[in-house]
């Protein structure tokens, strides 16, 4: 369990409406500091600038889907160790298992309830193993 409670969250999602709702939920209910990104192509740059503690990736996005973006993140030193949570509507159990084995911190299924979303994120945050030692 990380020493600090969760503060900064970055969310990559192509649907503008969902972005709006999630931002509102995380800020108003969760009291997090939130950065939302609409274009996955610039997401990694945005993360470098924002320095989130946790990243949420939408599974299906035009241009680059969540898993691909995740694999790209693993190649960039600044963001490679960030815990990642996938938001997914129809991933098969097999694909999810594959992602978990790659090191994804968790998954939240879509449609989710904005009321419960902050709580779900905090639970995942608490399950993340703390820094060694």
């Amino acid at each position: 369990m990380p020493a600090q409670p969760l503060q900064r969250v970055c969310y990559v999602e192509d649907d503008e409406d969902i972005r709006k709702i999630v931002r509102m939920s995380l800020e108003r209910i969760g009291k997090f500091t939130v950065e939302v990104v609409g274009d996955p192509m610039v997401a990694i740059e945005a993360m470098k600038a924002f320095k989130p503690e946790l990243v949420m990736l939408d599974w299906m996005m035009p241009g680059m889907d969540g898993p691909t973006l995740y694999r790209k993140m693993r190649e960039v030193p600044e963001v490679r160790d960030l815990p990642v949570v996938f938001i997914t509507a129809k991933a098969s159990e097999k694909e999810l298992n594959e992602l978990r084995s790659l090191g994804a911190a968790g998954t939240i299924s879509k449609p989710f309830s904005p009321k419960d979303l902050p709580e779900q994120l905090r639970e995942i945050w608490q399950r993340i193993p703390g820094p060694a030692g």
Binding site: D15, D17, I18, I21, V22, M24, S25, R28, I29, M60, A89, K90, S92, E93, K110, P111, F112, S113, P114, K115
Partner: protein
């Protein structure tokens, strides 16, 4: 046609007759011939007995006054005794049930009786011949000659028997003659054995004639029997053949009618793949007139795109090799006008009894439209699952945020309306999810991800997850008794879905303030989860279709409390996919118990 002995046999009891018939079949032929001879010998006995009595009586009368009376009476006594014995023997033979099997024994007894009879006459000749009157000597000589010669027809069926009998009659007499001291008598005594031998010779010849006669009769009888059986069998086969021919004709007509009127295309091909005949449906489907096909007999390749001809030749060769029917073969077939249809073919080689392919029947069903429909259905399902759910997520999410109050307190009327909007949005989403589940289940695309899990922990989790339903319908979820630490092999997500369905149903139908109980029961190799409510129960008329699709006892409930009517249908299918069983029963004092059983995971 059988041996004569079979006629009285027929009067015997049926099983015995059957047993004898079997025995008869198994008997060798000589045995039957012997039996026939014995039968012949015994058939002469009554006459012999009667004559013996008459001649014996005359002889007794003639000798009574001139010979020692006691001796004559003794002899007469012997005649009566032997006659009685022969009569008894004859009766015994008549009553015998196995004359064929015991023929040799009966022959032996007859020989003994013949010997006794002959010896008695021989005794008379020897004892009474030395007499005072020549007339009586003539009488006796005449008597013995007659008695001896009468033996020829009587015992002709067995010459050794005659030889025995006649020897017993004449040899003592010849002995007496030879020792009488009279030259004439000595001469006669020499002649007697000669006559005897001549008679035995005649008997032997007669016996041969009898024997071959019987053999002939048997051979003829067997022939006739065989002929009759053969005739009957032929007749039967003719009738069967005729019936078979009629059936073949009828089914041929039926088949032709089936093929002609069938809604699927039927092609008859020869072993080289040339079309011999096509039916009406094929004519319509491919645009080739049947009479043109019947005269031209084109290759079936006219229904295959040229670029696939090489592939077709290979598959055709395989078919000729395997001679096994091929089913569900999907082929894109060009029509005569150049358009294409997709057909599903069943191809059946016709193989004759020598194993040669004499033809091939191909039945094709036009599935062009079905494939289009399948494609449309897939597209629709995909639209439902993504394009409909995405906007719904935004709508419901927005309403939830508004209703949560984090954006500020709402006017009561507005809050009521946004509440209505959120609830109905949720209902729409539930319906879409349920329809997708049903679609997945029916198309076989629902993949189970079974894992070994603790059922008690899963039950606790489901109670936490579904707290919302309890709060909304103002009921309590309670655990009845203890949760058992049981492991099952099941899909976690899908099992939670089942629990949610059953718990939400129970909450929905319970009166406010009541408790919904969850009970775990150990059932040896299975474990049962039961969810008990105090609701109104399941109406009798609804029980049969409760697990059917869109099944709701009272559709007004849907409007009040939500639900799609698909939940229990999905639960049933899910539980069955996990090798379980789902059911329900009415509770005492009102309410319903829904339960499902799952096999326990065998821990090793």
């Amino acid at each position: 046609m059988n041996s004569p002995s079979a006629a009285p046999d027929a009067l015997a009891s049926a099983p015995a007759a059957a047993a004898r018939a079997t025995q008869g079949e198994q008997r060798s032929d000589p045995q039957r011939v012997l039996a026939d001879r014995v039968e012949q010998l015994y058939s002469q006995m009554p006459l012999g007995i009667v004559f013996t009595l008459i001649i014996g009586a005359i002889a007794t009368y003639e000798l009574y006054d001139t010979r020692t009376r006691e001796l004559v009476l003794f002899w007469w006594g012997l005649v009566l005794l032997i006659t009685a014995a022969r009569t008894a023997l004859w009766l015994g033979y008549r009553k015998s049930t196995d004359r064929i099997g015991e023929a040799r024994q009966w022959l032996r007894w007859l020989a003994i009786s013949a010997l006794a009879n002959g010896a008695n006459w021989g005794f008379a000749g020897a004892v009474f011949f030395p007499s005072h009157t020549d007339e009586q000597q003539v009488f006796l000589a005449f008597l013995l000659a007659g008695i001896a010669s009468a033996g020829i027809p009587t015992y002709a069926a067995s010459w050794p028997m005659f030889a025995l009998y006649a020897a017993a009659v004449v040899l003592p007499f010849a002995y007496v003659l030879a020792n009488f001291g009279n030259r004439l008598f000595v001469e006669i005594a020499v002649l007697v054995p000669l006559f005897y031998l001549a008679n035995v010779g005649i008997a032997y010849r007669l016996n041969q004639v009898f024997h071959s006669g019987y053999r002939l009769r048997h051979a003829y009888g067997r022939l006739t029997e065989d002929y009759t059986t053969l005739n009957q069998r032929l007749e039967r086969q003719l009738v069967e053949l005729d019936e078979a021919r009629r059936q073949v004709e009828a089914s041929g007509r039926k088949l032709a009618l089936f093929a002609e009127r069938a809604p699927i295309a039927v092609l008859e091909l020869d072993a080289q793949g040339h079309i011999q005949q096509i039916n009406h449906a094929a004519e319509n489907l491919f645009g080739w007139p049947s009479n043109e096909v019947a005269t031209r007999k084109p290759s079936v390749k006219i229904l295959i795109r040229p670029e696939y001809h090489a592939e077709f030749d290979k598959q055709w060769a395989e078919l000729m090799q395997s001679r096994a029917p091929v089913a569900h073969l999907r082929v894109r077939n060009p029509r005569r006008d150049g358009l294409e249809v997709v057909c599903e073919w069943n191809v059946t080689p016709l193989v004759n009894s020598e194993g040669e392919v004499v033809g091939v029947i191909a039945q094709g069903q036009d599935i062009t439209r079905q494939m289009e429909a399948d494609k449309l259905k897939k597209e629709f399902t995909s639209t439902l699952s993504h394009e409909l759910r995405t906007p719904l997520t935004s709508i419901i999410g927005s309403l939830q945020l508004i209703n949560s109050g984090v954006l500020g307190e709402l006017d009561k009327d507005i809050a009521d309306l946004t509440g209505v909007a959120e609830r109905n949005g949720q209902r729409l989403l539930d319906l879409i999810n349920d329809i997708l589940d049903v679609e997945k289940i029916e198309s076989g695309n629902l993949a189970m991800v079974p894992e070994v899990l603790s059922l008690d922990e899963l039950v606790s989790e489901s109670l936490v997850l579904n707290r919302g339903f309890a709060e909304r319908f103002k009921v309590r979820f309670e655990v009845g008794g203890a949760l058992l630490p049981v492991k099952v092999h099941a899909d976690r997500k899908r099992l939670l879905q089942v629990m949610t369905n059953l718990l939400s149903n129970a909450a929905k139908f319970s009166p406010q303030g009541e408790a919904v109980q969850v009970v775990m029961q150990d059932q040896r190799d299975r474990v049962r989860i039961a969810i008990l409510d105090r609701g109104p129960g399941i109406p009798e008329s609804f029980r049969g279709r409760i697990f059917g699709r869109f099944a709701q006892a009272d559709s007004s409930v849907t409007r009040q409390k939500g639900g799609t009517g698909l939940g229990l249908a999905i639960c049933k299918r899910l539980i069955e996919l996990m090798d379980g069983h789902i059911g329900f029963s009415n509770r005492e004092h009102g309410g319903t118990e829904f339960y499902f059983d799952l096999p326990k995971h065998a821990t090793t």
